[in-house]
């Protein structure tokens, strides 16, 4: 654990979690609240843990499988994201993810492997998920697999920020692998957010842009970091549910600000899938966004501040 006056970071969800507080005296309590939420979401929603609720649902595809409330809530969020984007993000991309080689934690993926036979076919579809809240159970079609990568981490950030702010009574910013959520009263000049290609970058880095946020959330999705090779062809991790294979590469990365990190990450993922139509789609939903083309030029929409 690395600590500074008002910040702590720790490994979580296969990436790094960062907790910032507006009052340094609240750091320990905020850290504890965040860790509890992260552990709960990881145990329920991880596709790479053999003991997670989500793994049990995937393993039992075709049958009803009991699930605790955390997975029920997370899946409901994922289904809502699918519905509101018209299926541009879809929690049933798990099988397609495995097909392209993303079947284990990213750090364990073999970076160069043999070619894979990619079939262009629509994923099973969120409409075929059955969620029975009254009996605490889930059923997905036989052969289908869930992946909540487009929503669960961001939803976790929202919940962790809210829990930490309620516990401490001070403003809190939570970062989970670059997905940011803010809760409570922000510092007088807002939270300083550096938007750049890699969440491991420096807040003072030369590339990217620094903006200020007071609440809500911000998320960045892209095709340039989580990628690997199969048969000499580059593959990345954002699957287009309409085709069941990696989305066309129009944008290197897209950052979206929204009332919640969940909404932001849903929209940034949908933007990658949409490609050229993304700016119009984001603007129509009043979502401030910064889109970086593969060539490096930047497009701003929805009121995102120009540099």
């Amino acid at each position: 654990v690395n600590t500074a006056v008002d910040r702590v970071s720790f490994a979580a969800l296969g990436t790094t979690a960062v907790v910032l507080v507006a009052d340094a005296g609240a750091l320990e309590a905020a850290h504890g609240a965040c860790e509890r939420i992260v552990a709960e979401v990881d145990a329920a929603c991880s596709r790479f843990r053999d003991d997670s609720d989500l793994t049990r649902v995937n393993r039992g595809a075709g049958d009803w499988v009991a699930a605790a409330s955390t997975l029920l809530d997370a899946l409901e969020v994922g289904i809502d994201a699918a519905r509101t984007t018209g299926g541009l993000v879809d929690p049933t991309v798990g099988g397609a993810m495995c097909d392209i080689g993303y079947d284990r934690d990213f750090s364990e993926i073999v970076q160069a492997g043999p070619a894979v036979a990619l079939r262009v076919r629509r994923v099973p579809g969120w409409q075929r998920i059955e969620l029975d809240r009254s009996h605490g159970r889930i059923r997905i079609p036989r052969g289908a697999a869930l992946d909540l990568g487009a929503t669960a981490k961001a939803w976790c950030a929202d919940r962790a920020a809210r829990a930490a702010a309620e516990t401490t009574g001070v403003g809190v910013a939570i970062g989970l692998g670059g997905d940011l959520a803010f809760a409570g009263t922000a510092p007088p000049d807002g939270w300083r957010v550096h938007v750049t290609e890699d969440h491991r970058g420096s807040v003072d880095g030369p590339s990217g842009q620094t903006i200020s946020m007071r609440g809500g959330g911000i998320a960045t999705s892209g095709t340039s970091l989580r990628r690997w090779n199969r048969g000499g062809d580059a593959v990345h991790h954002i699957v287009d549910p309409r085709r069941g294979r990696p989305a066309s590469e129009c944008w290197r990365f897209v950052s979206v600000a929204a009332p919640s990190c969940t909404t932001a990450n849903t929209a940034s993922t949908a933007a990658i899938v949409l490609g050229l139509d993304a700016p119009e789609w984001l603007a129509a939903r009043d979502l401030p966004a910064r889109l970086v083309r593969t060539a490096g030029d930047v497009v701003y929409v929805g009121g995102w501040p120009s540099p």
Partner: protein, 80 residues
């Protein structure tokens, strides 16, 4: 009016801020980000579905300025 629909409602959110296609009606059951559970949407929130853009931007809290000047501490948003 049929079975209640479910959607997320955020703190200070107006319904349009989610997606234009999912505007809620009063008395829908919704997932409340702030409470961490589902609750019934009020008529006030229904009214706020007819929001204007400036109000939405205020809810987002994104300042219309880029931060410049000396190095400041902060947090990074980037790809995982």
């Amino acid at each position: 009016m049929g079975a209640p629909r479910t959607r997320k409602v955020g703190d200070g959110e107006c319904a349009r801020s989610q997606y234009a296609t999912s505007v809620v009606a009063a008395d829908d059951v919704a997932y409340d980000n702030t409470l961490g559970r589902r609750r019934r949407v009020t008529s006030d929130e229904h009214c706020r579905a007819d929001h204007d853009r400036p109000r939405h931007r205020a809810a987002v809290g994104l300042h219309a300025t880029t931060v410049r000047g000396r190095r400041r501490r902060g947090i990074v948003s980037g790809q995982t």
